[in-house]
Amino acid sequence: MKKIIIIILISVFFVFNSIFGDEIPDRIVSLAPNVTEILFALDLGNRVIGVTNYCDYPEEARKIPKIGGMSNPSLEAVVSLKPDIVVMTTDGNQKKFEERLRSLKIKTYVFKSRRLSELPQGIRDMGSALGAREKASSFSSEMEKTISKFGRTLPSAKKTKILFIIWPEPLIVAGYGTAIDDVITLLGGENIASKTKVTYPKFSIEEIIRQAPDLIFIGKGHTNIKEASKGLLKKIGAVPAVKTGAVFFVSDNLYRLGPRVVKGIEEMAECLKQKY
């Protein structure tokens, strides 16, 4: 008799749960570093059971089993983790991979934001799909506040010419369509590399001299970035940014369209304040 009651209670619980409860996936695989960061920001980190080799933030993400790269994740590794859902992006993951997962009856969620302005809504949508609606909503509102605050307070009358260097030799810069480009525009600056319509172009040094940027950011991608930049900075020694000491070494907060962009915006705004 006892057994039967327990069985009935358990089944009632499950029925209720599936009807009324938010369906929270227990086992999430992330196929992109920015997705991983968002998942952790939404307190879903403990449910993430698989990440890419590039997912190195936050620290806890490093310990999660790896499933390969972004463009070439291992299907076998993903399937063997038995995920409830696989979260991917349109920016770096292949659509084919999603189709293959679906054909194996594995649920997927595709994060579609690619620009700063789309990020808060993207996080909100992802939150509702993964059962973290409230956290996502408050997080996104906070982010929207920061974005609009800097959008209103900083823009100066004169457009400051800015260049964001990802790596000095060979010269790779942040171009059109990157979060970095969006933040430069947001802060009232003009990204001198955004006319190229390429996200991370191999850029001409001559063009830097000609455009004469007022401010240069150099992103941290490597421990010795300061040493590695010396040669380039010597060559462009005559542009206003270098002459006036407006060369800032900044973090990699803006490299990924994820929760850290807020910090990245604040960091850039701080540098702009120092300059003016």
Binding site: T196, P201, S204, R210, G221, N224, K235, A238
Partner: protein
């Protein structure tokens, strides 16, 4: 080959070299230089054009020499594994964040790799007191595969940014050209070029076969070793100046032979000049057509060079070498 033909070659090369300095993403009038123009020319374009010329010279000449000593029309300077050795050490240097020598770190680590790769490939090719062409070629191919696969292994297991840059550099990048690189590159390449031109007669004999060369009075082993050293010097210097740039070492000597025959006393210097001019031109195109985005020169050389080579191949009946 007449004197006038050589003069035309030289004049055309000088013209292309100047074009690569004064044309570019934006043309600069040499008679009305502004301050910015002067900076661009002296800090960026001139060192870059010189590096391009030096690399092209080294690749053209060493390609011609190598095809001769290996008696193989498919030989190019990179087949010996020198470039992959350089790429591997350069990548290791970038990965471990070695910056002892500031600006020169990348070229230096690359040169060290090229140097040791030449010694290794040379010692594998060595048997019974001399270098054997077939052994050298196979050792080079084997080593190339080994070095490249280790490099690819590093790239695939590393999420480090440095590896991606190493990869970019491997495909040839002249944008890091800098005055500080030029003197030592110049010395090594001129030394190699001098050595190879001075042994050109011996190379002519070697191409006829070892016995014939011997009966013509050449010490086969000694000549081959000297020629190998000249190739190693030039290739190592060129790789360390700007990575690997394909096509020139393989195809330029053939194009030159189409026009002037197979006498190495002329083929080597003319391949050097044409190689230099051709890389200057390719770099000019690469940095101009999509400016301010730059296309790596290694891609441009093959895209514009290969169709021309195929066209020549169709038209010619007799192939030298």
């Amino acid at each position: 080959m007449s004197k006038t033909k050589i003069l035309i070659f030289i004049a055309a090369s000088v013209f292309i070299f100047s074009a690569s300095v004064f044309l570019g993403p934006k043309a600069i009038n040499p008679f009305a230089l502004t301050g910015t123009d002067r900076e661009i020319i002296f800090l960026i374009r001139l060192p870059r054009a010189i590096v391009a010329a030096l690399m092209g010279i080294a690749l053209g000449a060493s390609g011609a020499v190598l095809q001769g000593i290996l008696r193989n029309p498919l030989a190019d300077p990179y087949i010996l594994g020198i470039s992959s050795g350089a790429a591997l050490t350069a990548a290791l240097g970038l990965l471990s964040g070695l910056f002892f020598f500031g600006n020169l770190s990348l070229p230096l680590t690359a040169f060290i790799g090229a140097f040791f790769a030449s010694i290794i490939v040379g010692s594998f090719g060595w048997r019974r007191g001399g270098i054997w062409p077939d052994r050298l070629l196979l050792a080079g191919v084997g080593l190339s595969f080994l070095f490249y696969s280790v490099l690819m292994l590093l790239i695939s297991i590393s999420s480090d940014e440095g590896m991606r840059r190493a990869l970019l550099w491997i495909f040839g990048d002249l944008s890091i050209a800098d005055w500080s690189l030029i003197p030592y590159g110049f010395l090594l390449i001129i030394a190699g070029l001098y050595l190879s031109v001075s042994r050109a007669k011996a190379l002519n004999a070697l191409m006829l076969g070892d016995e014939l060369a011997h009966s013509l009075g050449f010490s086969v082993n000694r000549e081959r070793l000297l020629l190998f050293v000249s190739v190693a010097l030039m290739t190592a210097a060129s790789v360390s100046l700007g990575g690997t740039i394909g096509f020139i070492g393989l195809i330029i000597p053939h194009i030159v032979r189409f026009f002037i025959g197979a006498d190495n006393r002329i083929v080597i210097p003319v391949s050097a000049i044409c190689g230099g001019a051709f890389l200057c031109m390719a770099d000019l195109i690469g940095k101009s057509v999509m400016a301010p985005i730059e296309i790596p020169s290694g891609i441009v050389t093959a895209i514009i060079g290969s169709p021309y080579f195929l066209y020549l191949l169709r038209r010619r009946d007799v192939l030298n070498l």
